[in-house]
Structures are given as C-alpha cells and as structure tokens.
Symmetry: C3
Subunit: 469 residues, 3 copies
C-alpha cells in the first residue's frame, strides 16, 4: 500500500493525531471474542480451502446479497440449492462475474474489507477489476496451497490472541477438543449458543432436543431435565475455554414464567402443540433463565436483537438460511428487558452484552440503560453497522451517555476468516479518527486518547469477555 492509504479512513484535518493514536495500537494482538469462524479450519493440521471462490465468495452473504439485489441469480454465483439443482461450477467464471460488478461495492464495508484482504493478506498490488480478475484469481489460488497460508499460520500472522467461535448448545465440540489435544497453542474457544433448543419454533426443534439429550446423556423429557442438560453443556463449554454464551432473538422481550407455566409450555412443545405465543413467551423466559445461569457460572451473556430472519421465502426455500435475506426490525429495550434487569441487572457477577440493528435505540435506550445498570455493556455496531459511518454514529450517539467503559471494544462477528485483520483495522482506524476529533476539539487530551485507543483496540474486549485468565 502506498503512503496516502496508510492514513486511510482518517479525516484530513485531524490526520496527524489519528495517525499517532493508530500507530500506538496497530501492533496489539487481536481479541476476537465473537465470530463465526468454523473451528474445523483450525482443528485440521492441513486444511483445504478449495478455490478462491470457495473461500471468499460462496460463504459470504455480504457479497452475494448485493449482487442478488442487482438481479444476479444466486445460482450463477455457485450458491448451492437445497434441492440439488445444478448451479454454476466454473469458479473462474463466478470470480469474473463478481469482478464485473465490483463497482456495486463502492463505499461499502465489504468493498473496504476485500480491498484490504487482497492487499494485506494476499499481497496483491492490482486493483480488483474486470481486467485484473483472472490474474488475481491465480495469485490467490497459488497462495492458498502454501503452508504459510494455512489457517494456523494465518492465526499467528494475524496476531490473534484469542478467537471465540459460536457453537450450538448440542455440539460435541470435537474440533475444539482436537485443537486442545493438538500441539498447536493458538487459543480458540467455543461460545455456547442455545437458540436452536431455546426457541421452540426453530425448524427441527425436536431433533435438536434429541441431540442435546444424546450429547449430555440426560433424557430430556420435561422442563427440569431440559435445564439440567443446558447447565451440563455450559460446564462442558467452560471446560473447553468458553467465557461466553450467545443468544439471538427477534425482540428483547423478557419475562419470568412460573414453574408450572414453563413446564406446561415445554410439554406442549414436546407434543408439537406449542403456539406462537408459547414460543415467544418461552424464549422470553429462557433469556431470563440463562441470565440466572450466567450469574451462577460466570459466563458472559451476549444478546443479538432485531434480525427478521429469512425474509425472502423464495430464497429461503431454494437456498436456505443465511442467504443475505435477514432484515432488521424496530427494537424496544426499556420495557422489554426490564424483567431480566429487575432480576439480574444489578448483580455484580453478571455481564450482559447487547447488540442490535436499530440505531434509533442507541441514544434513546441502549446508552441510558448501559449508563445505569452494572450488568449491562454495549457491543460494537453490529452487522450492517460494522462500517466506518456505523462506528462513527455509534461513538457519537452512545459514548456521551454510556461512557466508553460501558462498551466492550470490537468483535469481528465474521465467518470470513481472512477478513479478520481488515475488520479490526477498520475499527481501530475509526476509533483513532473519532478520538482525534475529540482531541482537536479539546474535549479530551491526547494522553487520555492514548489510553482510550488501547481500551478500544484491546483492553475492553478482553476484560468484558473475562479473557484475562
């Protein structure tokens, strides 16, 4: 990269200050407390990435949803259909198709990440374009088979101190066991994600319960054995290094059911007669219940609110989940989260980290809540808002009210392994840029800004996710 882009993303007027702040943290290790990297990648001593398209396009819904929005069929991008209908298999042709439409990603975070990845992970000098596409494909393909591009080698080159994956509650965590039992010392830890068993309306809920029974050896036939199985698995995850759980819900609604109510709903679910309202109330109750478990076992609780999943029925039917068709909805926290906060919001052993997709809640609800409740922390801007302007809005609407220390730094939340450094780099630069503006306006002094950038880049995430031990 040439000299100007070393200052990329910085406001021109405060560039010198931003650069000093950024340089001070550029070499700090990456803390990755939440994401979706496949642990199989790091469990395998020798991992086969497939083609550049297998690695960079087919698994990345950020990329193909934008192409789809402009009328490009998912089949032509090699996205596999559920019914086995053949899709494009010529990966050079797919790569070219992406390159031919690369202008769609101008000024988007995806465009920024990919440009950074090509330059800094794959050392490619050319700009990605129709003309350069095939030559770039060659260069990437050549590198992917080299030993120093193996996942573990990249882990070290990326300077990752710890990487948390996200794993179903019923997982046997075989890849995490394999990593632990290997000679490799990289710190890769699981995160307990019970959505599939906790949300009664999950497709295949009974199968997930069966799995959970099998993996725990606990015969789940009522609410109480269900809770036992969850607690069992939380302990197993912790034994493999987990420090956190993760929960996704459409809304932040929480409530406490009585024992009789939870048992009755659970029995209806087992008989496949639970209603939509049952499912909603049970999820609300289980969020509260899992919060209590966190008070007991010390696992940090993450809550991701507001994604309406699989909004496009045709895409869901033909291609399945996580196909770029998840759309945010309006969120409410002040009333919805109150039952949970009444219960554990002031508990000294509790950490609940909130993420959501409705920026109107940042200043209205999230920052005031986090600025009061000892248990609450705010996650970084999530998903669509994991972007330069998304971060800027987060800083400007959250920090004045919540303060920096009720936030938790960054997490990349990605399944695109080679994009991890690019994503952290955007965060660190956005942080430096924002702080530089505060310094230039004499709102903070530069000494304070240096402490804050270290907190943003490293300390806050490590501390909030209890990763210091």
């Amino acid at each position: 990269m040439n000299s100007p882009s070393a200052d990329r993303y910085f406001e021109p007027t405060t560039r010198d200050i931003a650069r000093r702040l950024y340089d001070a943290v550029n070499d700090l290790p990456l803390i990755c407390p939440h994401g979706h990297v496949d642990p199989a990648m790091l469990a395998a001593p020798h991992y086969d990435y497939g083609t550049p398209v297998d690695l960079l396009i087919i698994p990345d819904h950020y990329i193909f949803r934008m192409l789809y929005s402009q009328g490009i069929a998912l089949e032509s991008l090699g996205i596999p259909r559920k019914d086995g209908t053949p899709v494009e298999t010529d990966h050079r042709r797919i790569w070219q198709l992406v390159a031919d439409h690369w202008h769609l990603f101008r000024a988007t975070p995806t465009g920024i990440w990919v440009a950074d990845e090509l330059a800094n992970v794959f050392s490619i000098q050319e700009k990605f374009s129709s003309a350069s596409a095939q030559a770039i494909y060659d260069q990437i393909a050549e590198k992917l088979v080299q030993p120093d591009f193996q996942p573990r080698a990249l882990f070290e080159r990326f300077n990752i101190e710890v990487l948390a994956t996200t794993d179903p509650a019923a997982s046997r965590l075989e890849h995490h066991r394999a990593i632990r039992d290997s000679e490799w010392t990289g710190r890769v830890i699981p995160t307990f994600r019970p959505d599939a068993v906790v949300n009664l309306d999950t497709e295949g809920w009974h199968d997930h319960i069966t799995c959970l029974s099998e993996v725990t050896g606990i015969n789940i036939h009522n609410y109480s054995t269900f809770i036992d199985a969850l607690k069992h698995q939380r302990a197993v995850f912790q034994s493999l290094g987990a420090t956190a759980t993760d929960h996704a819900a459409l809304e932040a609604y929480t409530e406490r059911l009585t024992s009789a109510e939870s048992e009755a709903i659970f029995q209806r679910a087992l008989r496949a007669t639970a209603s939509g309202d049952d499912a909603r109330r049970f999820t609300a109750h289980m969020l509260s219940e899992m919060a209590r478990m966190s008070v007991d076992d010390g696992l940090v609780m993450q809550l991701h609110i507001g994604a309406y999943r699989n909004h496009n029925p045709h895409v869901f039917e033909q291609f399945g989940r996580d196909m770029g068709a998840d759309i945010p909805v309006h969120s409410e926290f002040t009333r919805a989260l109150k039952p949970l906060l009444d219960d554990v919001g002031s508990s000294p052993n509790m950490t609940l980290i909130l993420f959501n997709l409705d920026e109107a809640t940042y200043s209205r609800e999230l920052a005031p809540l986090a600025g009061h409740y000892p248990a609450l922390r705010l996650g970084p801007p999530w998903w669509f808002f994991d972007s330069l302007y998304g971060m800027r809005r987060f800083f400007e609407t959250v920090i004045e009210t919540a303060g920096l220390y009720n936030t938790v730094g960054f997490n990349d939340d990605t399944r695109a392994y080679p994009s991890i450094p690019a994503r952290h780099d955007v965060w660190r630069r956005a942080s430096a840029d924002w702080l530089a503006g505060l310094v230039a306006r004499h709102i903070i002094d530069e000494d304070g800004a240096h402490e804050m950038i270290r907190d943003l880049a490293y300390n806050l995430a490590k501390t909030a996710y209890r990763m210091s031990s």
Copy 2:
C-alpha cells in the same frame, strides 16, 4: 454569484476535490422523473405567470407554512379561502411581508432555493431583504413577461432532458396531448397516480370513480371493471410517454385480499358503507395489485409513505389540502411490505422505488431491504429531507448497506417550476461534497468518485425510471 459561492455547500477541507467532481457534472442535463409541475404551463404556447407572488409564494407551502408557524395569517399571504372570504390581494404588500420575515428561512432549504432562484434564474444581484423587496419584485415582474422566461424557454435554459408530471388516474391528459401535438419537442411525460380511486376514504371517491368510468368508457360497477379501467388508463398514460406510477399511503402496509374480499369491499365502497378497516385493507391490497400490473406493463412503481395529511383541521377547513400541515409519522417496512415483496420483490421486470419521511428507517429497514431485493430501489431524501443535511444523512446511513446502485439519483418533487435548477444543484453539490470526503479519506479513489457523481447526477435516475428509450 461571486467566486466563494461557486464553492457553496462544500466542506472547506475537501473543497478542491468536491469542485472537480461538481464541475464534471454541472453541465449534464436534468432528469426530472418525479414532480408536480402543472403540465398546463408547458402546454400553453403563451403562459401568464401572474405576479411574482402568484408564481413564487401562493403555490409554495414550503414558504407559507413557515410564516404561518410564526403567527402570520395565511389570509395575509393571499392564500385563497375555500369559502371565498376575501384575502389579501395587494401582492406587493404580501411580497413585503415575506421579505420582512425572511430571516425565518436562514439555514433552511427553502432559503437556499429562493436565493439561488433569484440569483441564477432572475439574475438579481441584491440579497432579498425588507429594503430590497420592492426593487426585486419589479425585476421579477419585468422578467416574467419576457419571451425567454416562458416555461418552454426556461425548460431549455434549465437543460431539462425529461420532466415527469404527476397526474390523477382519471385524467384525460389533455395538456400532455397538447404538448405532444405541438411543434415543441421538450419531453414532458405523465405519471399515473391512482390514489384518489384506490384509497376508498378519499374525499369525493364516488366522483373520482365516475370520472374514471367516463374517461375510460368502462362502466365501473364492480372490482373487476375497476381493475379493467385502471389497466386501460395505465396503457393510455404509457402511450403518452409515462414510465412510472406513483402511490402515496400513510403506511407501507400491504396484503393480498381474495377475489371475494376485494369484491365485497368494493361493493361496500360503492354503497358508501366501507369501514376504515375496509379502506386500509383495500389500499394495502391495491398496492400489491398495482405492483402486479407493473410486472406486466413495465411501469416503474413509486411509493411515498408516511405523511399524515391535513393534520390541522382548521387550516384544512378554511384553506384545503397541501397547506403545509402534513406531518410525518413513524414508518415500518420490514413486516408491512413483506406480502408485496413475497409476490414481486424478486421479479426481474419489477422496479419499486420507496420514499419515506422517517429517517430511522433508512439504516434499519430501507437500506437492508434494497440491498437484498432485486425489485427495490430507494428514492432520494423526500420533502423535509430534500436538504443539505438530509442528503448527507441519507448518504451516510444508506449507501454502506444498500450500495449506491440500489438508489435512484435525484428528483425535485416540486410544483415550484423555477426552483428546479436550484434543487438539482443542491443535490449535485451535496453528492460532490459527500464523495469528496470519501476520496479524502481513501475510502474510494477519485476515478471511482467521478463515475459515482455522474451516476448520482444523471444516470441512476434515467436508468431506474426506464427513460433511456
């Protein structure tokens, strides 16, 4: 205009880049795909504007609503009362009253447009003020009677490539026919706006239906003939050059009624017994139905959501509609638009352009939806947000997620004909200013920015509205 104001609206630090981008598109023709200019103006070979107040004040609710908000009676501004009660007729006095309160428009888009109009359309050098008001009145009045200020002359001077008006579904389009049959070659096209017949609770709905029967020669006595008449008129509009329809609704709620339901509601409407709920559901159904028609006939569909019309009952009773008393309400799209999107959202022949008045939806719903559905595009910031900061917020909250190419450039949406160049100029400058910031921060390169500014200023609107043919 003197030298500094040639850089007007640009951030000082990135002014040079912005200026280069702006200069590259300043001479491009104006594409005006949505607005409310009266086609009679352009149909008449010789048009009488009346006084400067007739042209610039009385029809412009942006101006008189602000004066009204500060306690100035609409009567004193010459706004006609429905009951014929006399109002101020001394237009010089009205003009002076406006000038005496011109400070109210500081930092507002209306203030910007009028200043630009006076300088660049009417070549007036003085600043508009109490002292200069009468002299400026004289200068405008003198120009309005000159041949080169006739609407068709201005059309060419404004460099308008195409101007779409907005016309009721039952219109005979006599002015468009007259323009077509004249020797003048300016491209002025109608837009099909069926709100008055589709929204059952419109005042005088039966009269509008009668008109529609008469103009089509189809006796509308049931739902099926109603649909036939709408299809008939869509074809007529297309034959006169229309490329789009336009629909306004309080909310984005859509649903599909069964044939029996739509017939039953329509019959109740004919008997004047339709309920509020009937009207709401029928509008929701008709949005979906019109979307299907668009798939068939290729007319681009525009949807304007969120204006609570005629909020002030006293103003409505005394002065009627469009009196500056329309107030936005909260919008929801993710759930509300789903039935329509399930139906046609992925259709390759469909374009649905969304406008709304709730900026919280930009990043939460509109950009994610447009960043997925092939049929969806986002209109530019509408009405209150057709302003420098409104545009800046639109760019910053929409583009990272939706990308530039799921937006449709600018439309002026104005009934104030002489303000058209000023409005496009604000858009082009706001675009150049935003892009210059991205270039300075190395988010995009300047070559890319040059392509983007051409798209923003010209290509996107022309393409999205299918105006190339």
Copy 3:
C-alpha cells in the same frame, strides 16, 4: 485556561469563524428559564453548602449513575438510603473514589462540565485525578465558605439575568417570597409544575391534593374545585414572577374528556379506585386542560416527554427517585398531540415548548410540527442530549425543517448550581461551531450568523418564555 482551550469544542477548520461568533456573545447575561436549582439557596442570606461532596457529588445523579453502572455501590458514594441504613460519611474518601474513577467520564458532558467548573468557578489549575483529588478538595472546601462563593454572589458572577426554578403546584413558594421580600435584586422566579396532582398514579397523590387544598383554601372535593385550585395557584405563581408551567409525562398522549368523564375519574381517584387507564386518560385530559389555562393566563407551557422513571426497582426501593435510573422510551407526537393542537395549536396567545428523549422524533415529528403550528416551539436537547454531539444532531435534524425561530435557545435544566455557566458555555460554543460550519459552506453569511448566535445565546429564550417584561 490556556490558549488552545479558549477554542475548546470548535471544529479546527472553522475555528476562526466560530471564535468570532462565540466572542460576540460570551459576555451576554444567562437566561435560565428552566431548571431545578433549590430556591432555598438563594433565599438564604448565608447559605451552608456543606462539603464539596455535599455540593457536587451527592445531589448529582449524572455523576453517581455512571459510577453505579461500573459496580460502585451508591452507599459508598454517600447517597442516603430511605431506610436509614448507614452509608459512607467520610467525604474525602468519597471524593477520592470519584477521582479514582474519573476516566469513566472521558468524552462525556459531565466530564466537560466538572472540568469547566473546577477551572472557571473554583480557579483550580490541576487536572482532576487520583493524585490531585485531596488538594482539589481542600481548595473547593476553602472557597465554599468565602462570601464571594455564596449563591447570590455566584448569581451575579455568573451573570444570570433570570433564573426560573421548578416548584410543585402546591408549593407555598416561601423561598420565592423571601427572595422578593429581601433587599437582594436577583430575578429568581418559580415555575408551576402540577405533575404530582395531575398524574393520579403519583405516589401520595391524596396527600398532594390535601396540600393543594390547604395552600389554596379551596376544599378540593370534585373535578371543578380541583380546577379552581389549579387556577388559583397559577395566579399565585404569576404574582411571584412565574412565566411558565412545566409538565412531565411518559407519553405525549392528549385527549379531551367530557365533564362527566373527568368528574367520574376524579371521584374514583379520590376513592383510590382509579385504574391505570383512568390515570393515563386523566393525564392526557389535563395536558389539554392546562393548555387551555395557558391560553387564558398567558403562562408558557413546557412539556417533557419520554422518561420511564425509576426503572430499577432495587435502587428506587433503597434510595428513592432521581437516582439515575430514569430511562427513555420511544415517543410519538403526530397523533398523540393532535387533540391538544386541534384545540389550541393555532391560538395566538399559546406557547407550548416540547422536550423529549427520542431523537428519532426530531426530524420526523417535532420539526415538522413546530414548522407548522403557531403555538409550538422546540426546547433544546434535553437531559442525555444536553451534550456537544446531542446539540449538533439537534441543529442538523431540526433547523432545516423548523427553522431557528421555532426553537427557544437553551436552558440548563440543572440542580447543580455551580455547573450553570459551564452548561451555557457548551451551548454557546456548540451554537458557534455549528454556525461557523454553515458560514464556511456559504449556507448563511457571517452577518446572519451573528444575529443567529445572539438569538441562540440570549434572545430566543427570553422571548419564548415571555421574560422581557
């Protein structure tokens, strides 16, 4: 303060313009039309502040809520418990605890205000830190007993032209009478706040009604005598200089009850059988009723919407109200306020000033409403948004639509008396900074900006609150 910080909070690129604007208003008196300073402070010829902690920490929920959010017990900060359980009494120790956590306030308005107060009210040169804490404590303690730090002396040093307090409807206003009857000429006026008697679900509502009966000598036994008592007290407040009333409500919901309904609900309230719905409707009705009274007696009406009070039941139970546990909720104005606006929104003698805690309403509802209704004005950013970025967002989202002249300048809304100058200084600097940006972008000229900064800093508040007489 050293030279750079004389430009504090200004954008570097437009600093020179901002400085000129700020300097032009820096010496203007402070208009304080809404706040919570205890009038006892100014009624007493000799006032005992207690320790620095008594003055600066214990009454300031902005400070202790942030410390609480990071796990610091309120008891350890000396906040008194309702049940009399002993709390920390060593104020030097409390002061040290605050200093040890002062980094929590980086980039927050509280951090800014306290830094300004220490430097400019108490002439302290050191930065507040763990190391300097005790020395700073000494310096403040020493000053608090000096005559020129007495409240009346500070009032003059702060250059306060008028200070409005906020007083319950049933207050005897003995401190205001004492101030009036003293030889001191400072203008301190009450504000009529009837929430405790108007909201039927207020804790101790019957006691408040009894007080109101006693203070007025009107036996409140039905709705009509209730109204009489309110009118009586409004007149008493006016006789002591009041120019405004103040009303807080969870939502902006208004409606007109019939006489029979209001009487029936009031009787149920007297019998302690009013329902939640009764309370909601009665508050809605009383807002409308108080608006009518304002039309009659000319008191400006303030409405503060959107704070969910006492969200944390444990904190409420142990420590009571105003403990930093009030959290905003979503607001709606367009529909909710319509009944009131239908009634008095166009009345020439009415001024209704709106405040709220949901920034999404700024551009969507508040600015359009204020840009139409003669009676409506918008208060400055409230509470969590009384901050540099909060003000910036307010200017950017409100003024283009509402214009500057439908806003009312600043009020400090504080119970922290020594922070008054710091708060006004933030507003004046934020105003200058915003205007400087407009000047630099040629949106306004510098002459206009000079008029606007005077309006923002002084005129708008004085005029809107009818304080000129």
